[in-house]
């Protein structure tokens, strides 16, 4: 049994230590935000954060995860109380089929954790590993900018 810390909560999991995190999240912990896209680390649909860094959970054996902080899209907010990125993606209607969106949001979260005023070029470069087959890239770009602005406003208001 390994202990994983997901969205701040500890879980004991029974899967073999070589199992990629994605299957444990979806199969054992019933957190099915992260999606199985290619299973080869090429599309980014399975992106989650590990210690704040975006990783492909389909290639992340859980043996390497005890003691590390795992963050999934479920950790950013609920339907009733969405986080800034979730709100922005909804407001910009950035999802078409929606399959890539949880991964997109998590990769964007890693960027906005680092800076709330990224340039467009920075956003494009940062989001590059994640693919969208529907072609909503421009909306995704706008959603990330919108979330960044919301985060800046919030920080300003708190001052």
């Amino acid at each position: 049994m390994l202990t994983l810390t997901v969205n701040g909560r500890e879980h004991s999991v029974s899967a073999d230590p070589s199992t990629p995190l994605l299957y444990v999240l979806r199969g054992e912990l019933e957190l099915d935000g992260a999606k199985y896209g290619c299973g080869l680390g090429q599309c980014g649909a399975c992106t989650v954060l590990v210690d704040g860094r975006p990783v492909f959970s389909c290639l992340m054996p859980i043996a390497a995860l005890p003691g590390r902080q795992i963050r999934t899209v479920e950790g950013l907010g609920t339907i009733e109380a969405m986080g800034p990125l979730q709100q922005a993606f909804a407001a910009e209607q950035a999802a078409q089929c929606g399959y890539c969106i949880a991964g997109m949001i998590m990769r964007a979260q890693a960027l906005l954790d680092r800076t709330t005023s990224p340039s467009e070029a920075e956003i494009r470069a940062h989001m590059q590993p994640n693919l969208c087959r529907c072609g909503t890239h421009m909306r995704i770009l706008r959603a990330v900018q919108r979330a960044a602005a919301a985060m800046r406003d919030k920080a300003e208001a708190a001052r």
Binding site: L40, Q42, V50, F56, L59, P61, A63
Partner: protein, 450 residues
């Protein structure tokens, strides 16, 4: 500089003659010593000093012959000019790329024909001198990271064509950042000494015993292509070891494998396979072009087929005595059980992170990728390539459908990468276990090779 030396000589004479103008024996000896020092300084100054060549009005690009420019473009691809002299994709040849060396960081110069920040005011003579002697138009010494020790072998006609090509590019106004070299390497006149020791200005001499294709390949590999700049080990002063040509070198955190009898490939490299590798960036029995070789392949793909083939013929010849070439290499090895016993945790991590692509029958393997048991990195004497590929991944060097691998730097700790690398080496190679992997992984991560 000569003026200063003359003044020093005058002072030396007055000291020698002494206060009364009468020379004692001690004065005589002192005088001789001082004269010798002054003579040495004078000779050194004369030897070190390189004149500035007069600036010219930037030539009109229309005045260059189009065929000559096209020829220069093909040659520039073989010389990989753009690889080092480009920092941003939208500013080709405008310089500013950081080159990490054991002596500090160098920044490549702007070689677009911009009059202010590039080579727009360089005459052809100034360009030829820079290529052959490593001296800038204004007389300052260039660092040998610019491989003029190879370019010195390039013939006049080819230099003229490359000049025509560069002078017809789009001028880009861009100053390279200042070099960040450690003392005393930041003192350029020292390079005169380096040149004296290591810069052999000899033209390429064809070998009549070999055919024209071989000779063309030798000319390109030893000269413009400067393959040895990475594939030959360097001495403490950063010069290529003359007696270890193509014995394998280290470049920007990567290991450039030996291209001589020490080449560790499991399957033989042939000229045909090398030629294909040079324009696709992949060979199923050896490797995908990674690290600094990626951009090299990207450029070679744009070079004329005949030249690529000639280079391949010569490089295959360099490796003619390697174990694979003479049929003395063992067959590919896969010791899964042994490696699992030796490195259980590495085996677990491999199963979860790597096997979905690298396992037998995996979709990635069906697309045509080198299997790990044949791949060169795991057979090399040095673990750098294996570590760098895991940390930083692979980008397709030529077209987007080429070999790709995601980076694992954020997924695994140094210890975990160490465990995976040790497991891979034990499973797929019968070479000795790589020593001090923990240190190698830590320094690879610190260097941030890309």
């Amino acid at each position: 500089m000569t003026g200063r030396v003359a003044a020093a000589e005058e002072r030396a004479f007055s000291i020698t003659l002494g206060a009364q103008g009468q020379m004692t024996w001690r004065g005589k000896i002192l005088g001789i010593v001082l004269l010798a020092i002054v003579a040495a300084l004078g000779a050194a100054a004369h030897f070190v000093y390189k004149p500035a060549l007069p600036p010219i009005a930037p030539p009109d690009p229309q005045n260059f012959d189009k065929a000559l420019v096209a020829q220069g473009q093909a040659l520039a691809a073989i010389g990989d000019c753009a690889v080092c002299h480009t920092a941003r994709e939208d500013a080709a040849l405008a310089g500013g790329r950081a080159l990490a060396t054991p002596f500090g960081t160098l920044f490549s110069t702007n070689i677009t024909p911009d009059a202010k920040t590039g080579i727009g005011r360089w005459s052809e003579a100034a360009f030829v001198r820079a290529m052959r002697e490593g001296v800038s138009r204004d007389g300052t010494y260039l660092y040998p990271a610019f491989p003029y020790d190879h370019f010195t072998h390039v013939d006049d006609a080819d230099l003229q064509a490359i000049y025509a090509y560069l002078m017809t590019r789009r001028p880009i106004d861009s100053h390279a950042p200042a070099n960040e070299l450690r003392w005393p390497y930041d003192f350029r006149p020292l390079l005169a000494g380096w040149d004296l020791l290591f810069q052999h200005k000899i033209p390429f001499v064809a070998d009549p015993a070999q055919d024209a294709e071989w000779n063309r390949g030798a000319y390109l590999v030893e000269g413009l292509g400067h393959c040895g700049a990475c594939h030959t080990p360097r001495n403490a002063l950063g010069a290529e070891h003359a007696h270890q040509a193509f014995a394998g070198g280290v470049i920007e955190g990567w290991y450039a494998p030996p291209l001589n009898a020490a080449n560790p490939a499991v399957e033989p490299w042939t000229a045909d396979r090398l030629e294909a590798y040079f324009h696709t960036g992949i060979d199923l029995d050896h490797a995908a072009a990674a690290g600094p070789m990626g951009p090299v392949v990207h450029d070679l793909a744009a070079a004329p087929m005949a030249d690529r083939k000639a280079i391949a013929v010569y490089v295959a010849w360099l490796m003619r005595d390697s174990p694979a070439a003479i049929g003395k290499r063992r067959p590919p090895l896969d010791r899964a059980d042994y490696a699992q016993q030796e490195h259980a945790r590495g085996a677990t991590l491999f199963a979860g992170a790597c096997a979905t692509c690298h396992g037998a029958g995996a979709p990635m393997m069906l697309q045509g990728r080198p299997p790990l048991e044949k791949g060169s990195p795991l057979q090399e004497a040095d673990p750098r390539d294996t570590i760098a590929i895991i940390l930083h991944g692979l980008a397709p060097p030529v077209d987007a459908n080429g070999p790709y691998m995601p980076a694992f730097a954020d997924e695994f700790s140094d210890t975990e990468i160490d465990e995976i690398v040790a497991y891979l080496r034990a499973r797929f190679s019968d070479g000795p276990a790589w020593a001090d992997l923990a240190h190698a992984v830590a320094s690879a991560r610190k260097e941030g090779a890309s």
